[in-house]
Symmetry: D2
Subunit: 347 residues, 4 copies
């Protein structure tokens, strides 16, 4: 059994990680920390876990927590941005492998990171070693990694949707458009007026047009695939559902006679968690609710030169906790799908 | 034109009051205060008001605000509980009439108030004078009042639903049940985890079973109608909609041959804002969304001795701002329906 | 492996049954019929099942379907009311065991059934043999049954909530109240104006007050526990969520000094799918979303003589498909929780 | 008073038209027809209208209905596509002016119309005379029109968003993108599985990518502004709200130094129902819920050459019934805003 710790398990990413790990056949959930909820049973905060998880939150600074984390094989950080980087060095030194579900290790360029996240990076020397945890791109590196940066939710949906076009060099990479919508759980379990039910229900709006933090992450991934910088307009929107990301991606192809369907099917033929729908289909977010799947469909309206790719994930699963478990499975040579076979809840 | 001021206009009750007053033919909106938003245009916070309200929030402690409030004919308090009572004495002394949309003046018994609201009352000497602003009960007193305590949302729906039975003495008043659900806007525009979209959407639960603050208010109103204390079990629930209260009320009648439909129709025959539906009907919350109407229906299932009354209001209109405007109309001898003729938005 | 057939798998109960059976370790899904979708892959109708279920719908009247159903160990009917009764005799004769998720075999009194369901019963001779599939009441009989009538969703939530009080004889059984709300998936996947998104979203209303079909089913179960007829007022409401039933149950206890918490905890101590929450808690529907659990809490407000029981289930799981799988597990001597360990999706 | 008739008032567009006309100061609602609901009071179908509209539905083929419609000054068709064209000739001959809220007269090219709507046009000779009822483009022609084709909901939001760029010639018209989402009331009040609450809630998907019927309508309008054909990719999506359209529009500008904000503000300076938000703002759908307003914002992310325009309307108001009333006001020389001053419901 792999001994697993979680730092900061009281957000939505945390509870989802607990849900997945509770059902995982090869791990032992050893310790979970929370400053605010120290001493309280996990299942008292998240009643869906009653009968499944007996653990109690431990204060993160306690000697017990520090010792238990250091005794883990793997520690997940389900913390806000800026926390994992302050503890990574020490835990790695203790021989613990790390998966950060926040953004601390996602960008290779420390200046870009510091610009977008507006803080000093605490351990820039670890950035070169950190592996960006998108298994469909970096599987081999993930297997060997000590430190995995779990991708953001939008970046997962957008990159999986655009990579086949970019890798094949069939699209104008200077004018890509990613129009994306996200369920409100993506905003986290923080007390904020903007995320209140009465602000988001029966309402829809864009945000972050001048620049969302996921933009540099997406551009880094696409540029790596393209071998050069790409031009991307990314417009996220608040979607009044709890879970789900839908990205509608637009590009201009340089050859109208390409079999785009074939390109996508080939690219993801061996991927257990990417499902290319038949031509003409429309992926819907509920088809992946609670599942670690990304479903994609490719369209070329009116047989023109504009390709439209539709990509859906559950932001808390393939967009966060599920992808983290997938990365863990890879890192520890488990079946990549272990603990991730749940079928999406529909309706 | 009646010169109107609003203290604390940044909550949902406040914006609804602004929406209604902006369309009112006989008032001048003179000043609105907010500590947090001082200096900001009202329409910058609430974009639905763009083009309709040009006012800017004034800091409540500023000399300007104090002078302007004192120059008003009427001041609405759309503040949290405990604010109006600290300013009422001074404004009344200046000749201003007051409507408090919070709870400061709703209970006649200061000890009961202090127990349920867990604070010292700042002006208990005003409680005897304060008129409980339920026009269907207290119209004449409201007309003459200097100080009106606008009822709570649940109390409005429950009292309007139960009063005919109690006034006619046809129901067992020791075992009344009020099962009620409220849209989430009832929780206000405060940053709280419990009111997040991701906590309330696709979810339903009860709360406040041991005792909700609206319980003593309802019991005071029912006892007054009964001429004696009543026994009431009140269970509120969070309903995942923005607006709407639905109360399902149960009582045991002492005579199975009563024409309950007639009792209700007679009771509310002259009420402009209470609509008794035909026998067998089901009021739905959307039929009053944005409107100052309470719709009621009376059922006696299986011709038994249990009567079921269904009562719906929009918690922000008849349950708060609309009823406050209705009270204002009565206080200033305007047409009681002035500014309150909007038809509910359906769908 | 148990060979399983499903008649009528295109409703919400059907897709949920497929989701659960696809993950069940001890069954082989052998045949599924649908008139409307014959020849179409199950996963083309329900994309969440892509990659999990390869089966295609078979026309129910085809020789192939008839032969395959007769070759099953167990057939589930996920059909509208009135279908299972027309095929039960023949399948039972072929040695197949049956679980009907509709209402054909739920009531023991054929006249009562014909009154409420407004049709002639096709095989009244099977009613005495049919076992009402509420495992918490009838486990032993279910184990031996050839024909199980899976309970309705409201009846499951209401009976599990009220049975401890009735079995202990501590409540006035003449004036019980069940105020219940149901997610819209309970209305099924039928094209009806009343179930449109635009009719149900941001809306709430009661229905069926004169008499819902689940009323006689609940009263039959409660009467059996009481040893005499009970008086129950049952008011269902449409709740604008997809999944979830919440019942708020009211009764008058005859002894204020009873330890109600203990009564509930003892009653369900050995039940794998009934979770009695700590005193003072509020079960929420999302805590059972996708799970086969019923969560209960008992309150006695203001220490009076009225007890309030709160009961939640997922109408499609413990209220339908999950309970059917639980019954199957019992009938075939499998671990009762096999295939039913999924943790509810929260948020 | 203008004598007004409505053909087909039982859909969502119909009830919204009734809501607006009931509050209009200068019209008399004379007759409303419905085949399905003949003889039933309007307010029995739409309870929000109780106390506001006393009219009863008349059978459309009755002599009474025909005579009353012919006696109107104006008839609105709130019918499915293909109905207005069968009655237009006769009513026009009787001197009645017409506004069709469906699509029969929106396209100038009868072949294009017949291709997209898949039926024979019943009166192609009226197409040249019909005026496309977008007041911000065709105000003068509307004033003189006998026959107005009220625009579709998506076309209103998209055209108002893109017209300033196209009229000024500052954008590449060959690669425009309109990514739009619509509330489910846009699908109408028809019994269809696809529009069920349980299909749309907590779900999001695109549709109509190969070609939605609103595409030729938008392209006709944009081409007229451009003086040449335009290239547009239009992707609509189902948004799980009742009301609201949000269009996110993308184009490549040919000059990065343009003051786009000024272009928009100038274009709509005198328009009572188009509100250009300050630079950097995000229009939200709830800011126009129930109101006849289109709110717009213009962004140029990262100061690049891609412009992003955000446009919101209420699909039932500015996207249908409200715009129809606006057209009526223009046609009859009333104040253009008469009956259309309601403030959007927020929250």
């Amino acid at each position: 059994m792999i001994k697993v710790g979680i730092v900061g398990g009281t957000g939505y990413t945390g509870v989802e990680l607990l849900r997945l790990l509770a059902a995982h056949p090869s791990i032992e959930l050893f310790v979970i920390t929370s400053r605010a909820e120290a001493g309280i049973a996990v299942a008292d905060i998240f009643p869906n876990l009653r009968g499944h998880i007996a653990l109690t939150f431990t204060a993160p600074d306690s000697a017990a927590a520090i010792a238990m984390l250091a005794a883990c094989d793997l520690v997940f950080f389900a913390t806000p941005n800026g926390i994992a980087m302050t503890q990574a060095r020490e835990l790695l030194a203790a021989g613990v492998r790390l998966i950060d579900l926040a953004a601390d290790f996602r960008l290779k360029d420390v200046d870009v990171w510091q610009h977008w996240y507006n803080m000093q990076h605490a351990c820039p020397e670890l950035l070169p070693e950190a592996v960006y945890g998108l298994p469909e791109v970096n599987r081999a590196a993930i297997r060997a990694a000590r430190l995995v940066a779990n991708p953001g939710c939008y970046p997962t949906a957008v990159q999986l949707g655009l990579l086949p076009l970019i890798e094949q060099g069939v699209v104008d990479i200077k004018h890509l458009i990613a129009n994306a919508v996200s369920g409100i759980s993506g905003a986290g379990r923080k007390a904020e007026v903007a995320a209140l039910f009465s602000e988001r229900a029966e309402n829809f709006r864009a945000y972050g047009v001048p620049g969302h933090r996921h933009l540099p992450e997406i551009m880094q991934g696409l540029a790596q695939a393209a071998g050069q910088d790409v031009g991307l307009t990314f417009v996220p929107h608040y979607l009044p559902v709890v879970r789900g990301i839908h990205a509608t991606l637009y590009g201009v192809v340089n050859d109208k006679h390409l079999d785009l369907q074939e390109i996508y099917e080939k690219r993801y033929a061996n991927e257990p968690f990417v499902d290319v729908l038949p031509a003409g289909a429309y992926p819907e977010t509920r088809s992946v609710k609670g599942a670690n799947t990304c479903r994609l469909a490719v369209h070329r309206p009116q047989c023109g030169d504009t390709v439209v790719v539709l990509s859906v994930i559950d932001n808390l699963v393939k967009g966060a906790a599920g992808q983290a478990v997938q990365n863990m499975n890879i890192m520890f040579n488990l079946d990549e799908t272990a603990g991730l076979n749940a079928i999406a809840l529909l309706p």
